[in-house]
Each structure stands twice: as C-alpha cells, then as structure tokens.
C-alpha cells in the first residue's frame, strides 16, 4: 500500500513539471444526426492526459463520457460529426487518414470495453484474438505471438494460460473474459489505455480483482489510463485526476483530492452527496431533484440549472465558462468562486 501512495505522490509532483502531454483534446464536440434533429453528445470538451497518469472521466448515463472516448479513437457510429482537435504524438487524430489512425488503434491507444460478455468475438478462440492484435502491429511469427499471449494471460491472472488460450470466450467466466480483454489491450504496450466502464458488468468481488489487475498492468507498463466510469468509489481508489461530465459538458476537473474534498461545482457536490456510504448511515440521502436533461432539447444556459439548488437567474442566460483555480482545478459554474469548499460530504 505504501508503495502505491508513494507512487501517487511522485506522480502528483511530476505532473506539474511535465510539460508534454501524451494526449491533448482541444475543444472537441460530437453530434449525432437523428430523425428528431441533431443531438450534441459532447460539447466543447478540452483535456489532457500526461504519460503514466490515470485520468478518470465520471458522469451519469448520457453525460457523453463514453462518446468522448469512442470519438477520439474515431470508433463512433457513422452518423456522427466530430469537431475540434485531438493531438497525440504530434498528430491530430481527428483528421488522420484511416490507415494511420488504424496503426495507432491497438498499438498506441488500446481500449477495454464495458461488457466482457459481448466484446469478444464468440467464434474465435481467446488466443487467436490476442494473437491477431499482436500481429497486426508487429512482424512476428504466429508461434512467437502465441507464446506472448500465454505470458500475457499469465500476467493478468488467467490460470493455466496455455490451455485457456485455446479456449473460446463462452468457456470463460465474466471476470476471466475481462482479464483476457485487458491482456489484449496491453499486448502492444500502448501508451494510453482507455477503459470504458471496465467493471460495471461484473460482481463486486470480481470487480475488485479486475481493478487490481488493471492497476498492476498499468503500473508495470507505465501506460497512461483514461478510466471512464459512473462509480465515484472506483475513482476515489484509482485516479490521479478526475473530470466530471454532465449533459455533454465538462463540469469540473481537478486532482482526485480536489474533486472529492474541495469541489467547486454544485453538480459534483450534489453527486457526491447522493451516494449512500458504506461506512456510515444517514437518515436521508441528499438527492438531486429532477432528471438529467434531454440532449435533444437541452435547457438554456447551464444544463444543470433546473436541478441545481444554487441556481441564480444568470444561470439560465449563459453557459458558464470553466473557471480555473490554480493547478489543474477548474469548474464550470457562474458561482464557482463563491462555493464554500470547507463544507461538504467528505471535507
């Protein structure tokens, strides 16, 4: 444990010195064309990920967190329009020709998806699928790739990796499949791992195992990780930095401690307050009234305004700007500076 804390500290310090981000997303917007009109799933999102760091993207369903990840890999559906810039290794991923983005996918940036039951192709063996991921980017023989697969499966904790590699996904349990997905994602030592709700479909005890594996490999390979989740508990234990999304916009970003203890955004604060605590009991949960807005017909001004306990007339007029608070901490709220950060759930 001490080791991990140390690591976090080291990273936290080096984070300020590091000048060159691995991935820099600038003003990215994603919209879908539907029968009922355009739907903006991501609006003007900007963020960076530095080498080796874990960035958590948190939000409820429909907040645009998964779309963000798919869009920067250009894996979104066809009826989508993406604007903005995603700089990676000096290239803008959004206007890279198809063959080049393909050579980045799976080699420099790898993804882990939510549902391990459906994310593996049922008609090929697990080994074949990982071998394919290796050989598409590396000129190695089948035998060598296969040997590497066995090592990888061992690394992610699949017992009897040699036999298991030849088995098909349906012969794996849910947790084992997610381990196999992780093995596939790290097989080319990617610089960035995108994990999209990697444990949502799993049971609690299995979820803990998989998160552990994910951490170990992320630390072992030194990859940066973008962890997309709706579970604030998962974030607390594993992220260096957090950004909170709501109704397609980035609401707040900052170090994990800043988000959990010094949040300057009413949405983040309300979200934290609404989680039932495992270690203590409250009489009544602080719920957020209302429902997330329809993206098709978003409210004017700040999207959280109809549900916000602090809203003022100004909120209906303009979408607030991101207000910076030193370091990386920034909040999208007209009242950001007025929020008393000494009170709150965890403070």
């Amino acid at each position: 444990m001490g080791y991990a804390t140390l690591l976090t500290l080291v990273r936290g310090m080096s984070g300020t010195e590091m000048s060159e981000p691995l991935l820099k997303v600038d003003d990215m917007s994603v919209s879908f064309k539907t029968d009922a009109g355009d739907v903006r799933a991501v609006s003007n999102v900007s963020f960076e990920i530095s080498p080796g760091e874990v960035l958590a993207v948190v939000g409820e369903s429909g907040s645009g967190k998964s779309v963000t990840a798919l869009a920067l890999m250009r894996l979104h559906p066809k009826n989508t329009e993406t604007t903005g810039q995603v700089m990676f290794d000096g290239m803008n991923l959004l206007d890279l020709p198809e063959p080049q983005i393909r050579s980045i996918r799976g080699r420099d940036i790898a993804m882990i998806f939510q549902d391990p039951m459906t994310a593996l192709n049922p008609v090929f063996s697990v080994g074949e699928q990982i071998v394919e991921a290796i050989r598409i980017h590396n000129d190695v023989s089948k035998a060598d790739a296969w040997a590497k697969v066995v090592d990888l499966l061992q690394l992610v904790g699949v017992p009897e990796p040699k036999q298991r590699a030849a088995q098909y996904p349906h012969e794996y349990s849910g947790g084992m499949r997610q381990r196999a997905m992780i093995a596939m994602a790290i097989c080319n030592d990617p610089k960035l791992l995108i994990a999209d709700e990697p444990t949502t479909a799993l049971d609690v005890t299995v979820q803990a195992q998989v998160m552990e594996v994910l951490h170990d490999v992320q630390e072992a390979t030194g990859s940066a990780m973008m962890l997309i989740t709706h579970d604030l508990g998962l974030v607390a234990g594993s992220a260096d930095r957090v950004q909170v999304m709501y109704a397609s916009r980035l609401m707040e970003r900052g170090s994990t401690d800043e988000i959990f203890y010094e949040s300057r955004n009413p949405y983040t604060r309300a979200l934290l307050a609404s989680i039932p605590d495992l270690e203590s009991v409250k009489d009544k949960l602080d719920s957020i009234p209302g429902n997330p807005p329809s993206l098709l017909n978003p409210p004017s001004g700040c999207a959280f305004r109809p549900r916000c306990s602090m809203s003022v007339p100004q909120c209906a007029e303009a979408v607030p700007e991101l207000v910076a608070f030193g370091g990386n901490h920034a909040s999208r709220c007209h009242l950001a500076t007025e929020i008393d950060i000494t009170t709150g759930v965890n403070a």
């Binding site: 998160m211 604030l232 203890y261 495992l278 949960l285």
Partner: protein, 366 residues
Amino acid sequence: MSPDAAADVTAYDSGALDDIRADEPLLKVRDLVKEFPIRAGVFRRQIGQVQAVTGVSFDLYPMETLGIVGESGCGKSTLGRSLLRLLEPTSGTVTFGTEDVTAASKHRLRELRSDLQMVFQDPYASLNPRLPIRDIVGEPMQIHGVPKKEARERVGDLLQRVGLLPEHGNRYPHEFSGGQRQRIGIARSLALRPKVIVLDEPVSALDVSIQAQVLNLLDEIQTEYELSFIFIAHDLSVVRHTSDRVAVMYLGRIVETANRQDLYESPAHPYSQSLLSSVPIADPRRERSRKRILLQGDVPSPANPPSGCRFHTRCPIVQERCKQEQPKLQQIAVGHQVACHFALQPGETLLERTEQLGRGAQVASS
C-alpha cells in the same frame, strides 16, 4: 402527507394478519427451496436441477426492512419471487401472519397478493408498453374489485404521492425516464395497501442521482404506509442505507444474518467481510488507507455447487473440514447468525486471520 393513508386500510385487507401481535413476525420463511430443472435433448428430458435457493429461513417483523445481498447467481431474486409464489417454491413454507402462503389455493393466493406486493428491477421491462400509466397503476384495484370511481381517484393520489402528477395517468411508459418509471412501479405496488413489499433491485438500474430520490421515496412511504420491506440488492452501500437487518446470500444459502450495525461493523463470515472489503468507497483518503481482501476466482455455477461449505473454493481461511461438512446457521450474538465453521470473532478481521494462517500475502492488497 397523503390524507387517506390510514383511513381505509381495511378495505383491501386479506385478513391474514388479524390474529397476530405487533411484535410477532409478519412473514415467517422456513426451509424455502427452489429448484429449476435443467433440460436437454430433443425430448427436453430433465437431466439435473439447479438449486437456486437452498433451505432459506428468516422472519420479517412489522415495519422492518430486511436487506438481502449477494452477487449475481446467489439466488436472491429467485428467493424474492418464490416468497410471493411468482415462482412456485419446491419445498418449504412461507407464513404470512397466521396463514401458510405456500399452501394457499389459487383464489386465496390472489387475495393474499393484496397484502404482499413486489417492485421489479428493470423499469423498462416491468411496465406494459401498451397501457397508459392510469391502467398500469389501477390494474391491481381493478382485479380486486375496487369501484371504478374510487380507483380513479386513488390512482391520482398514488401518482402524486410518488412525485408525479395525476394528469400523467394518461401517458404511456415510454414517455418517462427510468427513475420516473420506477416511481410508477412503486405506485402500482402501493395500490392495494400492502403490508409487505419485496423490492427486487429497485435502484440498481438507475443513475446515482436518481437512485437517491427513489431510496428517499421508499423511506417515506415505508413510514407513511407502515410497510415491511424485503430489499434485495447487490449494492452493499444501498443495503446499509435502507435495511434494519441484513441477510448475506451465497450460492442459494444465507451465510450470515445480523442487524445492520453488526453486519457492517463486525461481519463474522469470511464472505461477508470480503464482500464488504471489495466495495469501493467514494472517499480517496479512506480508500488509500484501506486494506482490501481479494477473493480468488468467480462464483461457481449453481448447477454444480461445491461440496460442504459452498464458499470453500474461494475462502481465504478454508480448512479441510469446510470441504466435507456443510456449516449450519448458528447464533453467535443476539440476532446475529452465521454459517461458518471458523467464524470470525467480533473485532477480528479476515486479514488478521489469514496472516495467522500464513496466507496473508495471497489475499491482501491496498
């Protein structure tokens, strides 16, 4: 809040509770077993069975919430459905007040259902898409012969009570969001003034911010309508928030029951402890200082459960005896029962025990 909350309770009463005292259990479940046949081949011959629920017993007291937690496949939902005979139990008894629900005739069962209700997990699948909300909420009253006019008024009241408007009765399920649909499901379950509601994962399909609304609503109606809840969930934080007593299930069996405080502060079964330790806490400082127990492997298939203690394949403190002999639920403190040959002492952590056994390294992580 609701003006008629207490006024006409008797109108829909099944009468099964007439002779019991307030401190007696409402619902007594004894040795409940539910098996599903496994069939195969052209002629669908039965080639085996899955014991989804194996010999479960518990009591539910008036106005109490009993939480039932466990991972997928542990039989908690099957248990909930068997209690109301939505699935016919294979054996065992469920006694409601003075009446054996498992022995009731079809006709009598229908009457009893006015007292025993259920709220389902999936807010999308549990409302008939072809019916307006008015009919969905009103259907129980229609079935139990409540006069039309009265039923219509009560539907309006119920909708209002769960945070919707009476006018919404004209609308159809697809016009509502997940949280609103779950409110509609709750309104339906309240229509007949039940005494007991089985809540089957009522918030697990909802977003965090909506979850809290629904949990608060449930809390309010429990007091207001004097309800007893059986709260089935996999989320331990939610169960801690809602339940007075908690039963932990693993592969069809109850492995530990205790009141909320005992279970969460001194869990005695190694499974309960590891389950609790697996749950992430939304507090970075606490999370960093926490030591976590990692269980090996997945939950085994209920079609082929391990011998002896069903947890022995994953238990970090397993002994030879656990593989042979199935532990029985034993009282270790008042109201605290555990089914383990080597139950943890109050204050003792699983990690300490594993270290004592020299197995600490394999299970702990930070």
